[in-house]
Subunit: 253 residues, 2 copies
DNA sequence: CGCCAAGTTGAAACGCGTCAACCGTAGTGG
DNA sequence: CCACTACGGTTGACGCGTTTCAACTTGGCG
């Protein structure tokens, strides 16, 4: 998975907005590959903001450790995602990031990002739009934490993962690999690990979710989507036409 | 309150990053003032994304209406805030926005924003950083919704408002005007209106919050800050040095 | 004066957290 | 190869925080 494969960038590319130079520039963010182990901490909260990362393989998550001893997981990162843009414009990290399983990441610097912004307004717009989309996912979880019950939160969480994984061809016959422990899922959804277990059983009994260790199957994804009233614009949509027009014009100027 | 008064822009200005042209450009976003009534809906969910707004007077909020009949309030906007950047890069609104009390707003178009981006990378960076800061506040609420009890959520909410209002000189003797109903507060914090009432009583009994109708006093703001372990970097911080350096260099080039 | 929205208070129900015991599986070392 | 251990997951009992429903109060406003 490269950044060129993301919805936004593909959208820009298919409309001829990206030049060959743009593409090399974008790929230059992914030159520095590094293998990382399961559980490895990429950075802690309050660390200096020095770099960002593209995930090539494996899953990661951003988190906050709270004073009351619990943890809130903010976001799950999958291959192709950019990590760290949350901290763009801050001097200190607002959240820690750690790997869930082993994988490969490509770190790049503040400097590199600035250069990219300066050299291609199309890429700048694309990266900003990607960042906004990530935050839209966060907003969606905020809504679920505020106003929905455990089974709806879990169903929504799984369906969102399903959609994101499908986009990167990591779904086979409605099933996918999910390396998260139930404790981690609880930390993401604001639930206890015990209740996550019960909720899984509940969804299984209703025929909505099958699970065997780290393998999850959604026998009827549409039924799940209806249950959680899933609005997939925030996850699947490419840039709007007006946006692309502007970028095309700007490229010529 | 103008955009030039925001923490980020003031930071840029005081470091000499903003030119006179930049300032006129920024102020040009606020030429179109319009008076709006209490409760007026600026736009609905799923409406086309055509414009953004600067709030000059009054409070506004963004919200989602949910299938189960409840509402989740995402963010409270105060004078000087930009509304709508959440939808940047989408063709349809992800959330509705309405006024809480009467006020004045200044709408500006996608087009205007693009022009501003094209003509001043400093302003572009400033607006992006402002947007990222708004998202950081959302993230903070996500954490509170996930892992904290009602009294902590309310305390955090009030203290954040207190800090934001202080920045725009809307706090006198630790007290401020707050036009929100308890139902709206509940919709923001994921609580029922009834429980918000009980929680206010609780905080009052502990001497942390006094309230008379729409006037709130925090007798001991520091005590509140300790209770919620408030981390104010996400709200008060200006752009990091490295960022400003880049902008200064870029301006000359 | 009377109406209506907003806030308060009480009682009961319920969802979820917590604690604890137990189970299955994978990994480890003898 | 097989015990031993550690970890993640499951299940039950119980308590607590929050919701819900309902009755009542208060203040603002036509």
């Amino acid at each position: 998975m490269t950044l060129l494969d993301t919805v936004v960038m593909q959208g820009l590319d298919s409309h001829g907005v990206l030049t060959a130079d743009d593409k090399t520039l974008l790929l230059s963010l992914e030159l520095n590959a590094r293998r990382v182990t399961a559980g490895e901490v990429l950075w802690q909260e309050v660390a200096d903001v020095d770099l960002f990362c593209v995930v090539k393989e494996g899953w990661a998550y951003s988190y906050r450790n709270l004073g009351n001893g619990s943890m809130q997981i903010l976001k799950i990162y999958l291959p192709g995602d950019i990590i760290g843009m949350r901290d763009f414009g801050f001097s200190r990290r607002l959240a820690g990031v750690a790997m869930i399983n082993e994988g490969v990441i490509c770190p790049f610097s503040y400097q590199q990002l600035f250069e990219l912004f300066a050299r291609s307004s199309s890429l700048a717009a694309g990266i900003i739009a990607t960042t906004v989309r990530q935050q839209a996912m966060l907003t969606e979880r905020l809504v679920y934490l505020g106003r929905y019950a455990a089974h709806e939160r879990l169903a929504h969480f799984l369906y969102e993962l399903y959609l994101r994984l499908k986009r990167i061809n990591a779904v086979e016959e409605n099933g996918f690999f999910m390396p998260l422990s139930q404790e981690q899922i609880g930390d993401a959804l604001g639930l206890s690990a015990v209740h996550v277990s019960r909720t899984f059983s509940m969804l299984r009994d209703e025929g909505l979710v099958e699970r065997d260790r780290q393998h999850v199957v959604l026998p009827d994804p549409q039924a799940l989507a209806r249950l959680v009233e899933f609005n997939d614009t925030y996850i699947d949509e490419s840039l709007p036409p007006a946006f692309q027009n502007f970028l095309s014009l700007n490229r010529i100027a």
